[in-house]
């Protein structure tokens, strides 16, 4: 069984890497068709995304909101739910952070910052928690409801920013009153990357331990693997669903707080900049593993960071970077279907009777009835 373990580990590392390489090749073909030299393009991507410390910071800045927003899809996925309400949770998180930040603006900065983070997490958590509750108690499809809640969140943002929360001096771009400069999150010393990156990394590590190393996470994975078995085992599936959804939403909400408190200083329409949708991509490439999500965020951040140089140096259209991102997503999703299919990664048959490859679902551990 030892070979079995390393082969499976190797498989789950090799397939995504191979998929990314394959999509690079496809993208190179695309570039060649459009009239750019693929190898120069690869070189530029490398240079703009990872090549130097200054450009790597560009990648990290773009990766920071993706990590938090990816967890909004990755956590419920372990429970078998496909939630794509990241954008909405991020937006309501931003609104919550601004509301609280303006409300207690006279308190010491640290208190205000912690307060904003908590407000954003609660706001985002309730938003996605509601999706989980609808799913469990009313059997509303969580994908559709979370998608539709995105539109409601954006409409709510536009309404609040254009009406009740509007700063009258923001004439041509409606925004809320700004958060006082002392209460803003600073950059990590020595870099221009804001603290959102650290929040993201910490959240990914915590999420990993929560899911993989605690009984709570085990219960969630069990419910995700086989909901009937989980019920028979006496697991509180409803509470688990709502709790996981709440945690997922609070991660995206925290991303909203970081956008408000580290970047914009106010809540306005720029909050809704597509980080939520980027997060979905990250979660799927990472196969809903929170640690992998942190790495993949850096990869996607790098792709986004290279968008500029493709336009400036190679004269490629502005949508090129989206083509690249789309290719990566498609090839990675395709590669999911190869798990357990490639003979190299299959365990050696000890006898002539080859056992069937175990399903790749995360809930494969036996259910222990206590």
């Amino acid at each position: 069984m030892v070979t079995h373990v390393w082969r499976r580990k190797l498989e789950s590392a090799c397939l995504p890497i191979a998929a990314v390489l394959a999509s690079l090749v496809l993208f190179g073909i695309f570039c060649a068709v459009v009239g750019a030299n693929p190898f120069e393009v690869y070189g530029s991507i490398w240079k703009a995304a990872f090549g130097r410390w200054t450009s790597f910071q560009n990648t990290l800045i773009r990766a920071a909101p993706l990590m938090l927003s990816a967890l909004c899809t990755a956590l419920p996925a372990r429970l078998g739910l496909v939630i794509i309400g990241n954008e909405g949770a991020l937006v309501v998180g931003g609104i919550g952070a601004v509301a609280l930040g303006l409300g207690i603006s006279t308190a010491p900065p640290l208190v205000v910052q912690i307060g904003m983070a908590i407000a954003a997490m609660v706001a985002g958590g309730l938003w996605i928690g509601a999706v989980g509750a609808l799913r469990h108690y009313r059997a509303v499809n969580e994908t559709i409801s979370s998608l539709l809640l995105n539109y409601i969140a954006i409409a709510l943002l536009n309404h609040l920013v254009g009406g009740p929360m509007r700063d009258p001096s923001s004439l041509n771009k409606p925004a809320t009153y700004p958060i006082a400069a002392v209460n803003m999150l600073q950059s990590i010393p020595g870099t221009r990357v804001h603290w959102g990156l650290v929040y993201g990394l910490v959240a990914c590590v915590i999420a990993y331990f929560l899911i993989q190393r605690t009984t709570f996470g085990f219960a969630a994975r069990t419910a995700g693997g086989n909901i009937r078995a989980a019920r028979i085992a006496g697991l509180p599936v409803g509470k688990l669903t709502v709790a996981i959804c709440f945690l997922a939403g609070s991660c995206a909400g925290l991303a909203g707080m970081v956008e408000v408190a580290a970047v914009h200083g106010t809540a306005n329409e720029s909050l809704n900049a597509g980080y939520g949708y980027g997060g979905i991509l990250v979660a799927f490439i990472a196969r809903h593993n929170p640690l992998a999500a942190a790495l993949v965020s850096v990869l996607v951040g790098g792709i986004l960071a290279s968008g500029g140089i493709l336009q400036r140096t190679h004269g490629l259209p502005d949508a090129t970077v989206l083509v690249f991102q789309g290719l990566v997503f498609l090839v990675v999703l395709y590669s999911e279907s190869l798990y357990g299919k490639l003979p190299f990664f299959r365990e050696k048959p000890a006898a002539m009777v080859a056992p069937p490859a175990p399903p790749p679902s995360p809930g494969q551990e036996p259910v222990v009835v206590s």
Binding site: F39, E40, Y42, G43, S44, W46, K47, A48, T54, S55, N58, I61, R62, N158, G162, L171, N172, K173, P174, E259, V263, H264, G265, N268, E269, S270, A273, G274, L304, A305, G307, G308, I309, Q311, R312, D318, A319, L342, P343, F344, K348
Partner: protein, 393 residues
């Protein structure tokens, strides 16, 4: 040793292939690495007589609208001056992305001035970068510069395009058979209200009974709502449509399909509505950018005050213009519009001259007042003039 095959290849072949690819990749990377430093050296060597300007757009460069107008301006100066290099990025959101784009243009491409054209780039992104790069000049379209508050290397430019809207209004009113015009607008903010009001005042200057129905879609790019609004206006008997959204494409196409007239905005949309396009209020950013490019080349800077921090202009200064008249415009309408244009050229026409009432009957400009285009009161407009059907809240 098993004879398992990986996609029909033996393991040895696979390993050999992977090694070859890696080696190729490494050498390819080295190759581009060298060419990069070479090109940097080149731009550094002739940096004394060539300047690089960076342009950033929030949407695509071919949107028939706001971004296209700026991209045409940038392309205009790139073609005009051989000592000028421009670098451009489109579809850059108003987030940290624009900061990184500006930074790359400055650090990697050696841009001496950047033109981030979207309104939302200003605060906090441009202000932050301007402090970080005091030797680079930042020109922002939209105008929020406050002396003493903002960094000295930030400038602002914008045009009084409502003058062109006024003339469009004249053409629209003279062409309309029903006397009902339609205006599809993004948000009830001062810049937009000013265009709606000027368009209506222009229309009512030739036909005082003309009305303008306004619909706010709520956001800058809402193609579905714009099409719905255009259709419902056509159903109401409105026969000339115009708009103030980022891309007028949908409105123009819908008007053409419904067989009604349209006047354009931002850029020239004549090719989208060959029959019904009357004229349009267009930006002419080439004028503005040429002036800036020549000033920068001459060594002038915002910091020492030799380039003004706030640059404004209308038809007279060449900041905006009218599209060529379409086939449906009568000789009479052309005459009236040309007369108004001539008055804007010599500065004798003031749009907001008393007495102007809003559409609730309140006097907003008294008969003693004459608000010239530079008047700060106009920048805070929060009303719709008499003759506009709609409300700002």
């Amino acid at each position: 040793m098993s004879n398992q095959r990986f996609l029909g290849l033996s393991r040895r072949q696979v390993i050999r292939g992977l090694l070859a690819t890696t080696a190729f990749g490494v050498t390819a990377k080295l190759g581009t690495g060298c060419s990069r430093s070479a090109s940097e050296g080149a731009s550094g060597a002739d940096g004394s007589d060539s300047i690089t300007l960076g342009f950033i757009y929030v949407g695509p460069k071919d949107d028939y609208g706001y971004n296209q107008a700026h991209a045409e301006g940038a392309a205009g100066i790139a073609a005009k001056y051989n000592w000028l290099t421009i670098v451009e990025e489109a579809n850059v959101p108003e987030t940290t992305s624009v900061e990184e784009s500006m930074r790359s243009m400055i650090d990697l491409d050696g841009a001496v001035a950047v033109f981030p054209t979207s309104f939302g780039y200003f605060d906090p992104h441009i202000l932050k970068l301007a402090e970080e790069y005091p030797e680079v000049q930042f020109f922002h379209c939209g105008g929020l510069y406050q002396d003493g508050v903002h960094p000295k290397n930030v400038g602002s430019y914008y045009g009084y395009i409502d003058e062109a809207q006024y003339v469009s209004g004249i053409v629209a009113a003279m062409t309309s058979k029903t006397g009902k015009l339609g205006f599809i607008a993004a948000k009830p903010i001062p810049q937009v209200l000013r265009n709606i009001n000027s368009f209506t005042l222009g229309a009512r200057s030739v036909k005082p009974e003309t009305t303008t129905q306004v619909i706010f879609t709520g956001n800058w790019a809402e193609p579905v709502k714009e099409a719905e609004a255009a259709n419902s206006m056509a159903d109401q008997g409105i026969d000339v449509l115009t708009c103030h959204v980022d891309s007028p494409k949908v409105v123009m196409e819908t008007a053409e399909r419904r067989g009604i007239f349209s006047t354009g905005y931002h850029a020239n949309q004549a090719e989208l509505a060959a029959k019904g396009y009357l004229t349009g209020a267009e930006w002419d950013w080439t004028t503005v950018y040429s002036k800036y490019a020549e000033d920068i080349r001459a060594g002038k800077t915002l910091t020492d005050g030799s380039i003004p921090h706030v640059v404004r202009g209308g038809i007279k200064e060449g900041f905006c213009k009218l599209s060529d008249y379409g086939p449906a415009v009568s000789a009479e309408a052309k005459q009236a519009a040309d007369a108004a244009l001539a008055q804007f050229q010599d500065g004798s026409l003031v749009i907001y001259k008393g007495e102007v009432k809003d559409n609730t009957g309140k006097v907003v400009v008294t008969s003693a007042e004459e608000l010239k285009q530079q008047d700060p009161k106009l920048e805070q407009m929060n009303y719709l003039v008499e003759g506009v059907i709609g409300s700002v809240s």
